[in-house]
Amino acid sequence: MISFAWLIPLFPLLSFLVLILSGKKLKTVSGYLASLLTGISFIFTLGVIADLRSVTEYEATWTWLTIGTTDIQAGVWLNPLNGLMLFIVSFVSLLVHIYSLGYMGENDRRATYFAYLGLFTFAMLGLVMSPNLIQFYMFWELVGLGSFLLIGFYLYKESAKRAARKAFIMTRIGDAGLLVGLILIFWQTGSLSFTEIFQAVEQNEFAPGMVTLTAILLFIGAVGKSGQFPLHTWLPDAMEGPTPVSALIHAATMVAAGVYLVAAAYPLFLASEWALMIVAVIGAFTAIFAATIGLVQDDLKRVLAYSTVSQLGYMMLALGAGGYVAGMFHLTTHAFFKALLFLAAGSVILALRKQNIKEIAGEGRHLAITKWGFLAGTLAISGFPLLSGSFSKEAIFAALLEDGQYGLLGVALLTAFLTSVYMFRLYFMVFHGKGADKPPKSVPVSMKIPVIILAALAVISGFFATGFADWLAAEQEYAVLHHSPTWLIFLATLLSLGGIVFAYFIYVRKQMDREEWKTTFSSTYTILYHKYFIDEFYQNTIIYSTRAISYLMYYTERYVVETIAAFAAGMVKEIGKTGSRLQNGRVQTYGTVALLGLAVIVLIFVVRGGYF
C-alpha cells in the first residue's frame, strides 16, 4: 500500500481538475464527486498508515530539476509524523467535504467551491509528504493559494476581496523568510532533503551561526502561515470565507502547517538554543495575546479565529520548550475540537443567518446536536478534565516544567484560564439566553454527521496520548511525552474549571454587569476590542511607508527618467536638425562635409599608421 502513497494527493487534484474544467455541467454532482475522491484519498491514507506501523519510514523520489550537478528531487516521504498529518488532513478534509454538501447546498458556484477544496486538499497532502524543503515550500505556497481562493470565494464582497489579498500577502511575507531559509540551507548542506539536512546538522556542517539563522528564517515562514504574532492579523480576517473552509484551512490543517514545519525540521531547531527560545517566546506571547483579544470580540467566527491563533501559539510554545510530542498532540486534538467548533458554528450561522453573538443571544439553544457538539468542543479546548484538550495541554505544561521555563509556564497557565473564560462566554452567549423563540431552520443531515464524529473524537482522543507518543517515537528519539506532576494537573484543572465558573457567573447568572466592566476598564476594553490596534499600526507604518516609497519612485520616474528620455530624444532631434541644416542644397556645404570626412579618415590613417 505504501508504494501507492503518491496517489493520495492526486485524487483531490483530480477532483480539482475535473470540476474546474467542466464546472457548470457537473454542478449538481460536484460535491458528491469531490467527497468521493477525497474519501478514496482517506482510504489510501489509512492503508498507508497501517503499513507505516511496520515500515516506519519510506521515501520515493525522482528528479524534478537539475541544477548543475545537483539534482533536486520530488517525491513522497513518509514517517510517523507525516503519517499523522496525512491522517488529520485527509480525515478533516473528508468531513469538511461532507459537511459542505449541506452547507453549500444551493450555492450557484458550488462546483468551483469543491474544486478549490480539492486543490487545497491536494496541496496540503502534498505538503505533509514532502521529502525536501523545496517541495515543501511549493505546496506551502499552494495551500496558501487554496486558502486565498476560498477566503475570496464570495468574491462580490469587498471585504472578502480585501481579506483574501491580506491573507495571501501576509503569509507571503512569512514565505519569503522560509524561501531565504531554505536557500541558505541549500548552500550550507548542498541539499534540500530533510534527511540530508538533519545529517548535516548532526555532523556540524553548518557555518557558525547559520543553524540559528536558518532555523529562525524557517520559523518566520511558520509565523506567517500559523498566524503567530506579528503576522497574525490575516487569520481573523480570513473568516470571510465559507465556514467549512474556516474549519478545514484556518483551524485544522493549513494554519497548523507552520507548527508542522517546526516539527518536521525539529533537529535543526534542536541544534540551536536561540531558535528554540524564540519559537517558545513567540508562541507564548501569541497565545496570551490572542486570548485576551478573544475575550471581547463579538463575531462568532472571529472569537474562534483568535482562539485558533492562541492555540497555535500553544503548539509553538510546546515545540520551543522541547515538547515535541506535546506540541504535535495538541495539534491533533486541536484539529478535532477546533474543526468541531467551526462546523458547529457553521450550523448556527446557516440556521440563524447571523454571526454576531450579541444578536444571536441564545437562539442557538434550539439546535440540539449543534449545541452538544459545540459544548464538547468548548470543554475540550478549555481543558476540562478527561477531554482531549486537557491531556494535550497538560503535556505542554509538563514540557515547560521539564525545560525549566517557569515564566512561560505561568503565561501558559494564565492563557488556559483565559481560554476557558472566552470559550464559555461564547458558548453561553450563543446557546443560553432569551433570544427569539422561533425554531430556526433545520440543519441538513450531511452537516450533522461530521459534527457528531468530531465531537466523539474531541471527547476521547485524549486517551490515546501514550500510543501517540509511541507512534512518533518510532522514528525520532526526541519524541518524548512528558508527564506532569500531580500538582500541575490539579492546578491546570482548577484554572480551567475556574474559567468556566467565572464565565458562568458573568454570562449566565449575570452576577456582574458586563457594561460596568466595560466602563471601568474602558481603555483596556478599547485596546482589546481593536485587537491592540495592530492593523492600524501596520496601516500607518508599513503600508504608508511602502506607498511613500512608491510615490518617491513615481516622481523619480516622472522627473528623472523622463528627463533622460527627453534628453535622449532631444539629442537625436538636435542631431537630426543639424543634419538637415547641412542638407541645404548648396554644393559648397556638401563639399565641406566631404572634406571634413576625408580629413578625419586621413587623420586616423596617419595616427594609426594603418587601417585601424
Binding site: 537539475t66 536557500i183 519612485m553 520616474e557 533622460i564 537625436v572 585601424f612
Partner: protein, 492 residues
C-alpha cells in the same frame, strides 16, 4: 541551404502568401492566410527541435566574406548554430508569434495585410537573432527586428502611438549603435565574429580593462532592450500604447533578446572577466526589481502595472546572471522563457479585455468575475504565475535565480526577496481590483466571456507555464549543455 536557414527564413512563406492577396481582401481572409504563414515556422521549429534532440547538434556554416590585412585575416562567416537556450527561445518565438496572430483577430482592423507583412519580417528577424552564431549576423537580424516594430507600434497602436514609436526607435537605435561599436571593437581584436572563436581569443588575452569596457558597452546596449532602469521609459510606453497582439511579441520575445544578448555576449564570450561585474549586475538587478515593483504598486492602468511588472521581472534575470553560477544562469534563462510565456498570456488577456471594455483603467473596472469567470480565472492564473506561485514557471525561475544570488551575494538576495513580496502585492491588487468586488463599468454588464477559439492561446500559454512549473526538467535538460559552456570558462 540547410535546415536551419530554411527555418530562419521560413516566415518569408507567410510574407509572400500575404503579399499575393489582393489589397482589398477582407481582414478575415488575410488573417486566415497569416495564420497559415504563422504555422509554418511553428511546425518547422518543432521539427528542428526533434532533430536537435536526436543529434544534439545543428549548425550551418559557409564563408560570407573575409578581409586580409598585412598581419591577419578578418573573417565574417554566415554561421547558424543551435544550442538548448537558443532552441528554447526559438520555440518560444514561433509559438508566441502564432498566438499573437490569433490574438490580433479583432484588434487589427486597419490594413491587416501590411500588419502581417511587418509581423513576418519581425519574426524573421527574431528567429535570426536567436539562431545566429556570429556577432555580425546577430546584429543584422537584431536590426531587422527594429524596423517592423516601429511601424507596428506607430501605425496600429493606441493613443500616443507615434510618440511611442519614435521613443522606441530612438532608444533602441542608440542601443544598437552602442552594440555595433562594441561588436566592431571585439571583432577588430579577435579577427573573427564567431562567438566561440571570440571566446577562445579572449581567454588568451589579458587586457582586462579592455574586456570590461566592452562588456559594459554590451551591458548598455542590451540594457536598453532588457530594459535596465533608467533606460526603461520607452518600454513602458510600448506596453501601454502598442496593440496588445504586438505587445505579446514585444514582452514575450523582444525583451528576451536583451537577456539572451547579455548572456551570450557577456557570459558566453568573456567567461573569465564577466564575473567581475557580478556586483554591478546585482545592483542593477535589485534596482530593476524594486523600482519596477514599487511603481507597479501605484499605477492605475492595468497595462502600466504589467509594464512595470516586466521591469521588475527583468530585475530577476539580472540578479540571476549576477549569481555567476549554474543556478543563477539557469534561473535567468528560465525567467527569460517563463516571463515570455507569462507576459504573452497577460497581454493576450489584456487584449481581450480592451476589446470588450475598451479600457484598462483599474478605477473603472471591477467585478469582472461575475460576468466573465473564465477570463477572470485566466487573469488570476496569469497573475499567480507572474508572482511566482509554485507549480508555475515563474516560481522555478525565481527560485533558481535567488538560489544563484545567495551563493555569493546573500545580502543582495535578501533585499531582493522584498521584491518577491511586493510582486504579490501589486499583482493581486491589480487583478483583484478588476475581477473581484462589486461590478463596475457598463461594459461589464453585457460582457461576454472567453469563447471557443479565444480560449486556445490562453490555454496553450497556460499549459506551457504549468508544464515548466510542474516539471522544470523538461526545459532544464535542454539547457544543460549551454549552461556548462557558460560556467565552464569561469576560472573557479
Amino acid at each position: 541551404m540547410g535546415l536551419l536557414s530554411l527555418f530562419v527564413f521560413s516566415p518569408i512563406v507567410g510574407l509572400v502568401l500575404i503579399s499575393l492577396l489582393s489589397n482589398n481582401s477582407s481582414p478575415k481572409i488575410v488573417q486566415r492566410y497569416a495564420l497559415i504563414g504563422g504555422f509554418i515556422p511553428l511546425i518547422v521549429s518543432w521539427i528542428v527541435y526533434f532533430i536537435y534532440q536526436r543529434n544534439n547538434r545543428l549548425a550551418e556554416n559557409f564563408s560570407w566574406f573575409s578581409y586580409e590585412t598585412d598581419s591577419r585575416t578578418l573573417v565574417i562567416d554566415y554561421e547558424l548554430e543551435l544550442n538548448g537556450f537558443r532552441l528554447a527561445l526559438l520555440l518560444l518565438t514561433t509559438l508566441i508569434v502564432t498566438l499573437s496572430i490569433l490574438a490580433s483577430v479583432k484588434d487589427i482592423k486597419k490594413n491587416p495585410k501590411l500588419f502581417y507583412q511587418w509581423l513576418f519580417i519581425l519574426e524573421l528577424g527574431m528567429l535570426g537573432v536567436f539562431a545566429s552564431d556570429n556577432m555580425f549576423l546577430f546584429f543584422f537580424f537584431f536590426e531587422l527586428t527594429l524596423i517592423p516594430m516601429f511601424f507596428l507600434i506607430g501605425k496600429w497602436g493606441h493613443v500616443e502611438r507615434e510618440e511611442t514609436a519614435y521613443k522606441y526607435l530612438i532608444y533602441n537605435g542608440l542601443g544598437s549603435a552602442v552594440l555595433l561599436i562594441a561588436i566592431v571593437a571585439v571583432f577588430i581584436q579577435a579577427g573573427n565574429a564567431n562567438f566561440e572563436a571570440v571566446k577562445d581569443y579572449m581567454s588568451t588575452m589579458d587586457d582586462q580593462a579592455y574586456q570590461i569596457g566592452v562588456i559594459v558597452a554590451f551591458l548598455v546596449a542590451f540594457g536598453v532592450k532588457l530594459p535596465i532602469v533608467p533606460l526603461h521609459s520607452w518600454m513602458v510606453n510600448v506596453h501601454v500604447y502598442a496593440p496588445p497582439a504586438v505587445v505579446m511579441i514585444h514582452a514575450g520575445v523582444l525583451l528576451k533578446i536583451g537577456a539572451y544578448g547579455l548572456l551570450q555576449f557577456g557570459a558566453g564570450m568573456f567567461p573569465e572577466t564577466f564575473p567581475l561585474l557580478a556586483v554591478t549586475l546585482a545592483v542593477l538587478g535589485l534596482i530593476n526589481l524594486l523600482y519596477g515593483a514599487f511603481l507597479a504598486l501605484i499605477q492605475d492602468d492595468l497595462r502600466k502595472v504589467f509594464a512595470y511588472a516586466s521591469v521588475s521581472h527583468m530585475g530577476i534575470i539580472l540578479l540571476g546572471i549576477a549569481g555567476m553560477n549554474t543556478a543563477g544562469y539557469q534561473g535567468a534563462i528560465f525567467q527569460t522563457i517563463s516571463h515570455g510565456l507569462i507576459s504573452a498570456l497577460l497581454f493576450y488577456l489584456v487584449g481581450v479585455l480592451i476589446n470588450r471594455t475598451s479600457t484598462t483603467n483599474l478605477e473603472k473596472l471591477g467585478g469582472l468575475w461575475t460576468t466573465a469567470p473564465v477570463l477572470s480565472g485566466f487573469f488570476l492564473a496569469a497573475a499567480l504565475a507572474g508572482l511566482g506561485l509554485p507549480g508555475m514557471s515563474g516560481f522555478v525561475s525565481e527560485f533558481m535565480a535567488f538560489l544563484g544570488v545567495f551563493e555569493n551575494l546573500p545580502v543582495f538576495g535578501a533585499i531582493g526577496i522584498i521584491g518577491i513580496i511586493l510582486t504579490a502585492v501589486y499583482f493581486l491588487r491589480a487583478i483583484l481590483n478588476i475581477s473581484f468586488g462589486k461590478r463596475k463599468g457598463k461594459a461589464l454588464d453585457k460582457m461576454t466571456d472567453l469563447r471557443n477559439l479565444e480560449l486556445l492561446p490562453a490555454g496553450v500559454l497556460l499549459a506551457f507555464i504549468i508544464l515548466i512549473g510542474v516539471y522544470p526538467d523538461s526545459l532544464g535538460q535542454l539547457l544543460q549543455i549551454t549552461l556548462e559552456t557558460f560556467v565552464a570558462g569561469m576560472g573557479g
